[in-house]
């Protein structure tokens, strides 16, 4: 397996990108577009010889840098006519398995690319590697989520020509990815039948931010005594805005609906 490591313009300790398919194409598609906070400064000199302070109303996001980079990514993806999906779940909910099958079926007619994040190893990148789909593995070291800067740099290692859908498999974690916009078109949260129906109630922020919730591994729901209707009701309470698709990457149940969703997203981008 050919896994060239790329030199990063702005290295983060422990953070690496390996392009698994498709050649690295340099920085000709550099991202751009400055943003800046509006700042109003006021000078308060206090009376009795106390130390004067300058008070500044800054009103900028705590995650200003990430938010700016995410907006740039969004513009870049839209400009290229591709839809980016941010897939988030607990470890083992079935993200990679679903993407493998999606690349083999849906990905034949509609060109897809994948960025996959893990703390260590390029195992998932290898699993997803296909001649017809560019894939890059991002290893984050100790960082428990992908951020917009990692996506900006990793996206430049992929040949995105003709790509309509960019899947971003986030690091397995239901907490931290909630705060980090990657510039995605749609946030997809996976909940597997092995995790319990009340996961959405226990980890509400990530479900609250979902555009689509995939209830995965429904093939084993009965055997596990997993109540699908209870899980769906819990998702609806937290995330009434989210579309819900129940599917199995093993039996193929629900995959047609998932592919329809992707097709519609690709068509409107």
């Amino acid at each position: 397996m050919n896994t060239p490591a790329l030199t990063l313009a702005e290295p983060t300790p422990g953070f690496r990108i390996n392009a698994l398919t498709g050649a690295a194409t340099g920085s000709s598609r550099a991202l751009s577009g400055p943003l800046s906070a509006e700042i109003t400064a006021a000078l308060h000199a206090s009376g009795n010889g106390e130390v004067a302070v300058r008070s500044v109303d800054v009103n900028i996001p705590l995650l200003e840098k990430n938010d700016i980079l995410a907006e740039r990514n969004r513009g870049y993806f839209l400009g290229r006519g591709l839809a980016a999906l941010n897939l988030v779940s607990s470890p083992g909910a079935g993200k990679t398995t679903l993407l493998e099958r999606t690349l083999d079926e849906f990905g034949r007619a509609t060109k897809c690319a994948v960025l996959v994040g893990d703390l260590e190893t390029d195992n998932d990148g290898r699993r997803l590697s296909r001649p017809h789909a560019p894939v890059a593995q991002i290893t984050t070291g100790t960082v428990c989520h992908l951020d917009a800067g990692m996506i900006a740099r990793a996206a430049q290692s992929l040949d995105l020509d003709g790509v309509k859908i960019l899947f971003i498999e986030n690091v397995g974690n239901l907490v931290c990815p909630a705060s980090f916009d990657l510039g995605e078109q749609a946030r997809v949260v996976l909940l597997s039948t092995t995790e319990g129906e009340d996961k959405p109630l226990k980890y509400p922020p990530i479900f609250k931010s979902a555009d689509l919730v995939l209830l995965t591994k429904v093939d084993v729901a009965d055997v596990l005594g997993f109540k699908r209707d209870v899980a769906v009701e819990n998702i609806r309470r937290i995330a009434p805005q989210a579309r819900i698709i129940q599917l199995s990457s093993r039996t193929g149940e629900g995959l047609a609906e998932w592919y329809d969703y992707l097709r519609a997203l690709a068509a409107q981008t």
């Binding site: 302070v53 200003e64 509400p204």
Partner: protein, 117 residues
Amino acid sequence: MHEVGIMESALAAIRQQAETHGATRVARIVLRIGTLSGVDVEALRFAYDALTPGTFAADAELEIESVPARAHCAQCDTDFGATGGFILTCPRCRAFSSDIRTGRELDIARLEFPALP
């Protein structure tokens, strides 16, 4: 504990603000954090205490304003204060809402720098 990463990012932004305003230290940091931001205020304070000693923010006071959640019900066109955590139930018609009007804030509101000599 993504609060450490968030605080690191915030301190970088604050340092930049300090430079913009010709300050080498910051005296007071006021954050505005919504109750639905997904960020834990205690963890944020913990991260702040761990990250700031020996830095430009070493002596700064950290103030965190909490912003309560308000949502809008599309079913019956009602604004309501959301007290039930992330499940936003309309008090009038009991519908679940996804339309958060306030409570997602994750902002640096105000900074105080020592006056220039």
